[in-house]
């Protein structure tokens, strides 16, 4: 097991490298120039050429990538071309904001999805199943930004119950968990939770209804096991696949939802990445992509390990 974990940890290195390389190439293939985004449109060409040279952007692309990589392994993620601030503190701050939002939205979505999916699976083809399935399909289909705006109109503008935007009063940290801060989390969390809730509902429903039709469930019933005892078996058998889906969804949420973060002006990685893309802010783009790739890899590893711990049929060697 330890060897497996070590091997998976070592995989992080080539995966991160590959993601960074692909991102670097995409940024340079896409039209647009970071220096053009940085300077005034009427800046003379000689000034632009000089700035490009000073930032090393006139170097061949392999050299630029190599220099960036060399700095990253030394813990230097560079300085934002546009903001003039070191990338790392902003990235840590944005990751923290997204982490809090993703965990809250994820928890809400996964719990709702598991409960709805479980009930729908147990009562398959009943009216309860159809209602919950309709809710799940609506959850997957409804556009994030539309739902976010509707919630803001109802709860912020009309009822004046919850803040319309931001991550905390007075731009304060999202890490404080008093009511004043939790108020800011509610609407974006609900908005973010809707899609994972729908996906998990459908997954769990399928799994539960499939398991409920297995011979061993009939055997358990025949042996006189009561419903809550059967549920325990169903949960244990449905858990590995559900966990895999939840892991992927959580990784998606960790990547930051550009739309939800934009609608709620939530200062997370989604908004940071979105801004960096439009401004061609290469150091921010590279660093953010790398961190998001690490999120995915680490979360997948954790999901694999948890799956192993709850399902002895899965072996990790």
């Amino acid at each position: 097991m330890i060897a497996y974990i070590l091997r998976r940890v070592l995989y992080i290195v080539p995966i991160s490298l590959a993601v960074s390389l692909v991102c670097f190439m995409l940024v340079h293939i896409a039209p647009g120039d970071p220096i053009d985004a940085m300077v005034q449109p009427d800046t003379p060409k000689e000034v632009i050429d000089r700035v490009r040279a000073e930032y090393g952007l006139d170097q061949p692309l392999p050299v630029q990538f190599g220099l960036w990589l060399l700095k990253v392994v030394q813990g230097d993620f560079g300085t934002s071309l546009i903001k003039g601030r070191p990338v790392l503190p902003d990235l840590i701050s944005a990751s923290g904001a997204t982490f809090v939002l993703a965990c809250t939205g994820g928890l809400l979505g996964f719990v709702t999805g598991c409960v709805f999916g479980g009930i729908a699976g147990v009562y398959r083809d009943s009216w309860i199943d159809r209602v919950l399935l309709a809710v799940a399909v609506a959850g997957v289909s409804v556009p994030h930004y539309w739902l976010g705006m509707v919630l803001v109109i109802i709860f912020s503008v009309n009822l004046n119950m919850l803040p319309a935007m931001g991550a905390g009063p007075g731009g304060s940290a999202v890490s404080i968990f008093d009511w004043e801060h939790i108020r800011y989390l509610i609407l974006p969390s609900i908005t973010l939770a809707v899609i994972p809730a729908g996906i998990v509902t459908r997954t769990v429903r399928g799994l539960v209804s499939d398991i409920m039709s297995q011979d061993y469930i009939t055997t358990l019933r025949g042996k006189g096991l009561r419903r809550h005892g059967i549920v325990g078996h169903v949960v244990r058998n449905a858990a590995p696949t559900t966990l895999a889906v939840i892991g992927l969804q959580l990784a998606n949420l960790m990547g930051g939802s550009i739309l939800v973060e934009t609608v709620f002006a939530w200062p997370g990685t989604g908004m940071m990445l979105n801004t960096a893309i439009f401004q061609r802010d290469i150091p921010v783009l590279q660093a953010t992509t790398l961190v998001l790739a690490l999120f995915f890899v680490v979360l997948n590893l954790l999901v694999d390990l948890v799956q192993t711990s709850i399902d002895p049929r899965i072996s990790r060697r």
Binding site: P31, Q40, E54, G171, G268
Partner: protein, 538 residues
């Protein structure tokens, strides 16, 4: 053996979670809340502009990250909503041109202090110019120099005359230098020495502006406080605190205003205005030197190389209808300069709606129903000063079709379009590029029509080459008397209007929405605004 979570593992996980969440703390420690009222403004930028005295984010960046914390040598009069906003003394209390050498300017500096208490004087001014122009200076930064490059391009030299006097030398006769200096801001050398570099300065800035830095939370807010020792007592802020919040989504900005999270919304979407007015919010707007235009391709391959096609395009569109489409929150263009501008001039050709005249001009140029003009136009989906580009361009497209001009759009993101603007029409192959233009600072506006600025040298995207324009601009640059300069700039504007050198559609009025609690705001006819007179009442 299956993996089993241990208590230690769980605790370590929680610890990491806590560290991650704690990382989202503001850069500077949170201040105690001021006892008085706080003015909160939602800005449309996606983040707080760079605070190292050369703000990013274009004119909006300068409005909020420049004029709040810093001052230029020459500033703008932002005190009136009625008269044109002209240049006024900033950190220079006066300036003059050396009568023996008109490339040499003398600036008398005023008494002022930076927010950190260090003095503003000739040494501080020269230190700043060194930072912009001298690559060997220890505090030279390529990013800052690049961002300020458009403002410093005509400066050949600088120096100290005495403690409160400096001189600047220009590369050519340039009476427009004061306009170029109006967004060149000055940072505190003492603060830079204290923090060691510009990256640290950007998170702990010090200038001479009416507001001093308190804290910055990336992506969330910039908190400033009134600078009580500001050199201009008339502009000491009426509110003790100013909070700027970046909210890029227009609907979110409006919702934040309506829910009471902010007091003033900048860059307001026109369709939200009726409901805001009905809800009791104050809407303030004003004309300012902004022109929503198509920059045209003058190379031989483009139909716009023919002045008859350029004039026909300008006669084909009903600007009043477009203003109505915008809810009345714009001014129909009649010339390059906006009505009321001292540079409006007396152009012979007026931008008006006359489809029959447009058809006649197209017929004269060899086009007709069997041979329509085919145009490809690069437009953006959004961007600074672009208003609502997709809808506006679709309206224009329908008007053009009626006179025999078929328009195809090439939609790009704003960043890509700015790159295309620099590359020039020959590379993009388009017939026009829809990028709004300022008429406030000639160097960032109409000067780009100069033939010597054709790509790759500068921003003359369409390779416009009109000797009459070059001569008029050279004459204006050699005119140092302010009244005569207005007349000379009027001539420059007349030339481009008469030559239909762009498709000029409307001038934005930039409506802003204010909470009923706000008093005292005056929206000047300017890209920049003064927020210091605003009071927040109960």
């Amino acid at each position: 053996m299956p993996f089993e979570p241990t208590r230690r593992g769980v605790l370590q996980g929680l610890s990491s979670t806590l560290m991650m969440a704690t990382a989202a703390m503001p850069i500077a420690s949170r201040p105690a809340r001021a006892a008085g009222k706080t003015l909160r403004i939602a800005i449309s930028l996606s983040d707080i502009p760079n605070l190292w005295a050369v703000p990013t984010g274009g004119f909006e960046g300068a409005r909020f990250g420049g004029y709040t914390l810093f001052d230029p040598l020459v500033s703008w009069d932002m005190s009136s909503a009625d008269k044109p906003s002209g240049l006024v003394p900033g950190l220079a209390e006066s300036w003059s041109v050396d009568p023996d050498n008109q490339k040499r300017w003398i600036f008398k500096l005023r008494e002022a202090t930076f927010h950190d208490g260090s003095p503003w004087n000739a040494d501080a001014a020269i230190w700043n110019f060194e930072g912009y122009l001298n690559r060997d200076a220890p505090h030279f930064h390529p990013g800052r120099a690049g961002m300020a490059g458009a403002r410093t391009q005509s400066i050949a030299g600088y120096g100290k005359i005495d403690d409160m006097t400096i001189y600047l030398e220009t590369k050519y006769l340039n009476s427009l230098l004061p306009f170029e200096l109006s967004t060149l801001f000055f940072a505190s050398p003492a603060r830079h020495a204290e923090v060691g570099n510009w990256e640290n300065f950007a998170v702990n800035p010090s200038g001479t502006g009416p507001y001093a830095f308190v804290s910055l939370t990336p992506g969330s807010e910039l908190r400033l406080k009134a600078y009580e020792s500001y050199w201009n007592p008339q502009r000491v802020p009426r509110t003790p605190e100013l909070v700027l919040m970046p909210v890029p989504d227009a609907n979110t900005r409006v919702a934040a205003l309506r829910s009471g999270q902010v007091d003033l919304v900048d860059t307001l979407p026109p369709d939200s205005i009726p409901s805001l007015e009905a809800a009791g919010f104050t809407i303030i707007e004003n004309t300012y030197p902004h022109s929503w235009i198509w920059r045209l391709n003058f190379t031989e391959d483009s139909p716009f190389s023919d002045i008859r096609v350029r004039k026909a395009a300008n006669l084909a569109i009903d600007r009043d209808a477009i203003v109505e489409f915008l809810g009345g929150h714009a001014t129909a263009a009649k010339a390059f300069a906006q009505p009321g501008s001292p540079w409006y001039g007396k152009p012979a050709f007026e931008f008006r709606y006359d489809p029959e005249a447009a058809k006649a001009l197209l017929a004269e140029a060899g086009y007709g129903p069997d041979k329509p003009v085919e145009l490809t136009i690069v437009i953006s989906s959004s961007g600074g000063g672009q208003m609502v580009p997709l809808s506006m361009n679709e309206v224009i497209q329908s008007y053009m079709r009626e006179v025999g001009i078929n328009v195809t759009f090439d939609v790009r993101d704003f960043g890509t379009m700015i790159t295309m603007l620099r590359q020039g029409a020959k590379e993009s192959g388009a017939d026009a590029l829809n990028v709004a233009m300022t008429m406030q600072e000639p160097a960032t506006g109409v000067v780009s029509f100069t033939s010597v600025l054709a790509p790759p040298a500068g921003g003359n995207w369409g390779f416009y080459n009109n000797p009459a324009f070059d001569e008029a601009l050279a004459a204006a640059r050699a005119t140092f008397d302010p009244a005569a300069l207005d007349a000379a700039m009027s001539k420059v504007m007349e030339v481009v209007t008469d030559d239909a050198a762009a498709l000029v559609v409307v001038h934005d009025t930039n409506p802003r929405a204010l909470s009923p609690k706000l008093k005292g705001f005056v929206q000047a006819k300017n890209w920049y605004q003064d927020f210091t007179p605003i009071e927040v009442t109960d």
